[in-house]
Symmetry: C2
Subunit: 224 residues, 2 copies
């Protein structure tokens, strides 16, 4: 079925269609973008010496492209740089836990979550303009408004930072929401059943010891 | 330096010693266990058709062993089962974000976090007793006390559930805590600097629509 232009979706591929719980998989850009924009920490998977490696790292999004960064000395960034031509095959996964789902049976326990899995090939970003825009996007992804309210990277810092980009192309989201799905015969069992919601909550900002007096908390911080 | 017997550590290997920020890496069992026990969601990395795959999944810990589970139809579980002899090379990563670190310079922005990365080979658990103990550990890892307060898996459910184990052997933890590390020349800059703490917070339990009246919230739930 052709997609309406106003509701674009990522094409399903063999590896983005799950073998289990297919009804939880979604592919529309809006949902995928919303899940990505609700967080800033991803888990980056790549292959090193024939074995899988999964590292937590920050990301930013610009349209249908993700940017990840790190030291030029870090392994995946270096590997992406060393293999500029073919690029580095990666999988980037973002997961938000929304609740613990307590069913009457141990078997039907679950969690409510929203996740996005991106398969693709990461390439190092070398152009100055794309690199600085990517770093701004990374900072603003964690805390919108912060990039303009900090000192931009200088030439030395830019040279020490590697940025890789990953196009959102082979992508799927998965969402589990709602209450437990108990077996009908378990309904009379005397166990409490329902959902325990969970979400990240921000505490009061802790100023650095050397923060000069008179510098007020910025509004983008208070908004969190 | 030999480790004191009361403070055992995981042996450092080439892939558990980071190329960057080595001072953040720790190897003692106590720290690794504490980070693993503070969460229940991991990101499981494995290789499929030559490409990395990273999937979010739940885990439990019993001593120096992790257990992960899923449907017998799910890809990594099936792959671990299909390769019982050599096992499935995996990387399991657990990350907790503790705060956003706002430096005066964009370059020194960071996050406070605790993470554990486990490299190893996952094997399918086939013995009945280890499998049921692993499933109890999985449920209790998410919510201590819940396994005994739900209906255990029956034979059909056990058969539909695959469990894999991963020994904690090649393991490292990484911790970043504290405030920003600005360059001395940046100290006079007029940007707010400090840490915005963040932590998962549980909301009020939401009973299932079909919860029978008279079943009180269990104490292990209220404790969260």
């Amino acid at each position: 079925m052709p997609q309406a232009p106003q509701d674009p979706s990522f094409a399903r591929t063999e590896r983005t269609v799950p073998t289990r719980a297919r009804e939880r998989a979604v592919y529309d850009h809006e949902t995928v973008h919303a899940i990505l924009d609700a967080g800033y920490l991803c888990h980056l998977g790549f292959i090193r010496d024939g074995a899988p490696v999964v590292l937590p790292t920050l990301y930013g999004r610009v349209g249908n492209r993700l940017y990840l960064h790190g030291s030029t000395g870090s392994r995946p960034l270096r590997m992406a740089g060393e293999t500029t031509d073919p690029g580095l095959p990666v999988c980037v996964t973002v997961t938000h836990v929304d609740g613990l789902v307590l069913a009457r049976s141990a078997f039907h326990h679950s969690i409510n979550y929203r996740s996005v899995v991106v398969h693709g090939t990461a390439h190092q970003v070398t152009g100055h303009d794309e690199k600085t825009a990517a770093l701004d996007a990374l900072v603003d992804h964690v805390l919108p408004g912060r990039a303009a309210d900090s000192r931009p990277a200088n030439a030395k810092e830019l040279a020490a930072t590697a940025v890789i980009r990953l196009d959102l192309d082979e992508v799927s989201a998965k969402i589990r929401a709602g209450g437990p799905n108990d077996e009908p015969e378990d309904l009379p069992l005397p166990y409490w059943t329902g959902v325990l919601p969970v979400a990240p909550v921000y505490g009061a900002p802790v100023p650095a010891d050397d923060l000069a007096p008179g510098i007020a908390e910025p509004s983008y911080l208070t908004a969190r």
